[in-house]
Each structure stands twice: as C-alpha cells, then as structure tokens.
Symmetry: C2
C-alpha cells in the first residue's frame, strides 16, 4: 500500500472533478460487476454516483499491456483477481490517470449508478468466516455459555474461524426467505419450522487474488494477496444454530444466505485507514505476532440500519485480530489459496452497547428488545424487515472512503 498520493487532485472538467462525491472520490475507485441499461455484465469502476466500464477505460489509454486488457474483459472481477498485485497496481494507476485528466471526459461513457444493474462481483472459491471481535465473542459466550468463562481458552492464541457455504453468498439486494430448521424446545425434543430468531451479523470481508501460493502467507505478505474489501451481512438463525452447533460448529444456521456489498474497495484505497490493533494479552506464535509488522488494523466505521432506524455503529478498529493475521492463520497449515477465496471478519462489535453488530447482542438474545421509533419492540427480524449495513473509512488528505451498502429484506418462509 502506498501512502496518500499528492497527484490525486483532478483537473477541472475531468470525470473525477465532475462526479466526485464524498466517499467515492478518486481516492476510492471500487470495482463491481455491472450491466448498463440494455447491456451485458462487465467490470465497472465507480466515481461518485457514476459507473464506468473498466475495459473501455483501459482501451482508451493506449498504453495497457495485453495481459491487463485480458484481465478486465470479463463480466466480473475474476480475471483481475487472478492477475495479481502488479496488475492491480497498474490498473489503479491507469484508471486514476484517466479519470483525473480532462482529456478523457469526452471519450469515456459513464452511467448513472441508479440505472445500472449490479451482480455478484466475483466467483467465490472457498469462504472462511472468522470470530475476530473480542467484544462479540465475549457477549456470545456470556449469552450461550453463562456458566463458563466468556472467552474459550484458545481465543487469544489464534483467530478462530470456520468454513462457510460459498454457493449461497449473494449480492446486496437479494431477498432472504426465512429459513426453516430444527429449533430447540424447553421439553427437550426439537421442533421443525421457520426460525424464530433470525439475526444479522455486520462484518467486513476480504477478497483474495493472485497466483495461488502453495503454502503459508506471512503477515508482511498478506497485502499482496488481499485484493479488496466488501461489507458482509452473515444472516444467522440463532435457534437453529444453537441446536446444531455442538460439536462441529455452525451449519444450517448460517448456510442459507450471506449477503455482500457489490462494490469491492481496493485494499490500496484503505492505506489511510490502517491502524494498530488493540494490545495483545497473550504471547503469540511467530506467524501471528504482529508486534514488528506494519499495522493491519483497519479504522472502518460501520452502521447498521433496520427499517431505516440506525440500531448500531460497530467500529472495525476494535477488532482483536487483523485481516493479515486471519490470512496468515488460514494458510499456516499449508492450505493453499485460490484466486476468489473470501474471508470475513466475523461480527464487528465494539465495547459499547450501541456498537454491537448483531441483534443477539443488541437485545441480549431477545431478553432486552430494542425500542423502535414506531413504538414496537424488536428482538429478532420479522418478515418484511429491511436491513442495510454501510461503512466508511478515512481516505488520504481528509477524504473518506465509502463501502456503499449491503442490504436485504426478509421474506416469509417458502
């Protein structure tokens, strides 16, 4: 990641000058898979509320390598992810150059964000979900295992994670039917039916690219394989999860759907958001010890709204484990990476009550419902509930980097 670039100031009349908006200036330049009205899906880049075809920008430049042209000519990010860090940097430099130059304004077509269709930005290979917030893990421990210490004894020695279902990761806006499953009952026999405890988990996800190394990715190498970042809502059926999860972990309580935001924020756009993670309470194994590595905490502010009411503002800066540690852990056993691998942080919860990233925590498993402005009490999600998670992070020169949002509406069970 390069420090804030002083050449970012767009020329008057350039695309970046015409269309820049807070969060989506030329400092950001997130990518998506989009289709213009009546057109086919293609790789796009966003500036303000406009979307431009990446392939058209690259072609207009005239200096692009054949490999770069090929990497951006697909319908989504897959080709670019595969191409690796040097191509990512080349492309970002080229796009920036074009968008800040007044010359390109007349030749590049752009579309209004509201007129385009957005798709899953990349094909997910393996999906790993972590559990990296100390505040979240502590709250969950207190709720589910009140007779034990809230954090399991391994928690501060490694970033706990597990594999999720890649095939049910969906793009923002996809409707979420209420899942069915076996729910615990006081009498001891479970009952089958729609979940009564449908929940959200506000998370940040990271997309992997580059040629797959056969082995470990060190903390200092992580930035070469993390292409970018999205918002994640890891929908969770708490009753189904509670009945099924011992001893092999969550399965059907999570696998029905995971929503992600359509815009992938390049990790290079987050250079100004890098912060030190919280102090470590245990001596860490060398592969996780980041005391002498560049800081890889991220100062991302999340915001969770349900039916247009903001219910939480989770701070990613409070996460105990960093994305670099998650990636180093995932690969330390020799597990190979593939381009398109995706990992999420787990629920982001801060120390404050209004910083919790799940309804499980916000309502203390339904025992302390949220008072909504309508006068209703909310414990978990009802059919029709509309959830929007958004986020921003510091950009260079006092700017902000926007993540856009990940949204979803709960539908009745099918």
């Amino acid at each position: 990641m390069t420090p804030a670039d002083e050449h970012l100031r767009p020329e008057p009349g350039s695309i970046a000058d015409l269309y820049s908006e807070p969060g989506f200036g030329v400092e950001n330049l997130p990518y998506a898979s989009f289709a213009p009205p009546g057109g086919n899906p293609q790789l796009g880049v966003r500036i303000g509320f406009r979307v431009l075809g990446v392939s058209a920008i690259v072609q207009s430049d005239g200096t692009a390598s054949q490999s770069l042209l090929k990497a951006v000519d697909g319908h989504n990010l897959d080709g670019l992810l595969m191409a690796g860090r040097s191509t990512w940097d080349e492309l970002r430099g080229l796009i920036t150059k074009q968008l800040v130059s007044a010359d390109a304004t007349s030749t590049l077509e752009s579309y209004d964000l509201h007129d385009v269709t957005l798709f899953m930005p990349f094909t997910v290979a393996d999906y790993v979900d972590f559990y990296a917030s100390e505040h979240h893990a502590t709250n969950v421990g207190r709720i589910f295992r009140p007779d034990q210490l809230p954090l399991t004894s391994n928690w501060k020695h490694l970033p706990i994670g597990y594999h999720g279902r890649s095939g049910t990761i969906v793009v923002s806006g996809t409707e979420i039917p209420r899942p069915k499953g076996l729910r615990p009952e006081p009498e001891g026999f479970p009952s089958f039916g729609p979940t009564r405890k449908l929940d959200i988990e506000a998370e940040i996800g990271f997309v992997i690219g580059g040629s797959a190394p056969g082995g470990e990715v060190s903390l200092s190498d992580a930035q070469n394989f993390i292409f970018g970042s999205v918002l994640v809502n890891d929908w969770s059926a708490r009753d189904i999860q509670a009945f099924e999860y011992v001893p092999l972990g969550p399965f059907l309580g999570k696998s029905f759907a995971t929503s992600i935001s359509p815009w992938v924020v390049p990790i290079a756009a987050l250079a100004s958001a890098l912060v030190e993670p919280p102090p470590r309470d245990e001596n860490l194994a060398a592969y996780l010890d980041d005391s002498r590595s560049p800081a890889f905490g991220l100062d991302i502010d999340l915001e969770v709204a349900i039916d247009d009411v903001i219910v939480s503002r989770p701070p990613f800066a409070s996460m105990y484990w960093t994305p670099a540690q998650m990636l180093a852990h995932m690969t330390v056993n020799g597990a190979s990476l593939r381009s398109g691998d995706f990992f999420a942080s787990g629920t982001v919860s801060g120390p404050g009550k209004e910083q919790r990233g799940s309804l499980l925590e916000l309502t203390w498993n339904g025992t302390d419902p949220l008072a909504m402005p309508t006068g209703e009490k909310m414990s978990f999600l009802e059919d029709g509930a509309y959830v929007v998670i958004g986020a921003t992070a510091p950009g260079p020169l006092g700017t902000r980097i926007g993540f856009g949002e990940v949204s979803g509406r709960i539908m009745p069970p099918t």
Copy 2:
C-alpha cells in the same frame, strides 16, 4: 436406480468380455478424468484394468444427442454433472450397449490403467463433511469429552455436518506434507510446530449434479441429484483440531488436505448395495423420516491399509444417517445446491474394534498403539507412512462393484 439388468451379459469378444475384472465389470463403469500416454486430459470410463475415452464411445454410437456429446467433451466430469439425471442415464445405457457389443471392439481405443494419468475427477463447488456414524461419534465423544455423555443431545435428531475446504481436496496419490499449527501443551500455553497426531478418516463421498434446485431436496428426490460416489480420506491433525475446535468446529486440523479416489462410481451402479439403515432411536422430523422412503443405506465394505498392513475394515452399512438424509438436511434451510457440490459421510466406524475408520479410535488417542508386523507400535502417522483405503459393494447377479482406492503418503513438514 434401476434393478439389476438382465442384459448385462457381454457378447463374446466384446470389450466388456475381454477386459472385465472383479469389481470393474460392466455393472460398474466408473468415470474419471484421465490422460492417455502423451495425450490431453479427458473424461474416461473404466472396465477391468482398461480405460476408454467417453467422448469416443459416444461419437462411435451415432445415436447420441448434441447435448450428450457436449456434456462429455470436457477434461473431467463437470459437463456431465451439470447435464443432470436423464443425461446420466442416457450415457450409461449407451456405454453399456457399446461395451457389451462385439462390433465396437475394433473401433474403440482403450488404454491400460497403469499407463494413464488420473486427475481430480470434477471441480468441487462446496464441500460438506458429516459425522454420520454412531460408533465413530460415540468413540470420539468418549475420548475427547470423557466427563459427558458420548453423543451430544442433538446427534440422533439430525445428521451433524460442517463445511470443509473445497480448494484442498486432492486426487489419490497426492503427497501429504505434515501440517503445522498450534498444539495444546500440558502447561496451558500452546506450542507451534508439526502435528504430532496425524490421522486418517475413512469416508465415502457423494458428488452432486443436475440443475440446481432453489430449495429443499426431499429424501425421495435425493437419487436425482447424487451422481456418484468416491472414497475419501479426510486427513486430520488431532492435536491442532483439539486446540482450535471449540466453539466453531474443525478448521486447520482438517483444511490442509482431503484425498478422494479418482473413479466416481455412478449411484446407478450401487442399486444392489441399497440396504435399510439401523433402527432409529428418536422420532425424526418429517424431512428426515425415512421410515416410508426407499432404503438409502449402502452396503459398502471399506478396507484401510497402512504400509501394506490392513488395520481396519469399516462397514458403511452401519452408518446411522443415510446419504439421502444428509442431502435433505443440507438443503432443508433453503441452501441452494450447485453441480459439483460434494458431501462426505464422516468417518465410517463399525461396532467392532477392527472396524474403526480412524487411528484416533483404533489406538484410543494413542494410548493403545497398533502392533505392526514389523514389531513397531503405531499410534499416529509417521513421515513416510503410506495409507490406502479401498472399498467394494454388492453388484447385480452376485458381482461386486469396486471403488478402486484412495492413497497418500505422508511427507515431512515443508
């Protein structure tokens, strides 16, 4: 699945007559991705110790549909999996007809099994591993949680499962470097290093195909989506697993590698192996209640050899949960399937001590090592250990259906 077919008797001089061997007669016809000497990878079918190109067989027939020709022209099973049940049946009928007819002998080229190279038979979409053997789950509970009931209270209400890592599923013969990770130590602080408890898990896996339904697959519909079956060795690092697995399940203790056999046995070849599963001890939710469905237990006999010594003979017929129940469970929450999804049974262990499918159980976590004929004691796998898992099942008319084998050698840590 159709009952045993009386037209299976090959004509004298036909390929099936010339090359039939026990386990790999015309009743079986498993598929693989293979390359003939000096040739490119393609879809193959096995008879005895000979391999034939499927595309060549289909082309030689002259009656094949364009969609069938297209489904078999790739380098592996992916196209065929996508094509669905009716194409699978059409292809199996066509291959059988060609191989039992003396006319085709002169026109079809076949290769010696020992001269071809075998590859991963299909691209794995999502991978789910179950825990479907009551004997295995009971043994593991006794070993890991001796102060509790051996089976968790949910075990007989649903087939417990979790997602594994698709990207590290490898074909038989791939060398397995000893993984590293955090291992528990008596002093309380974990240490980092190569696993000291490298283990096997002998399992059966099932490959999904067909157009992905959006919702639940019922017990009676399962056979329309299960294409076929392979042998699985779910390599496990027991110390890493023991330290990490609470509360979200196995992760690095499993994700370094999972080996599968190269030959996918069509589920249609297992019609004579269908048996009733063990009696159920709990009333099951309707979606899992197979008391009125066709039996989907499978009478598959496994055999585990380490360094050429048979250490176990696990019987798949003893599995509590059937593959149909696993698939129904996996999808009851609305989780969609994709062609290429793969699920495995979990360790197959029978009631007898010599029927246990893992060294964890065979040596009772190393406290009761196996006495090898060399005079050595074996608790877990040493570097250089060579593991081979094989299996056969009843075929029609007194024949056997062979699965071939899944093998792997342990290499020193990298």
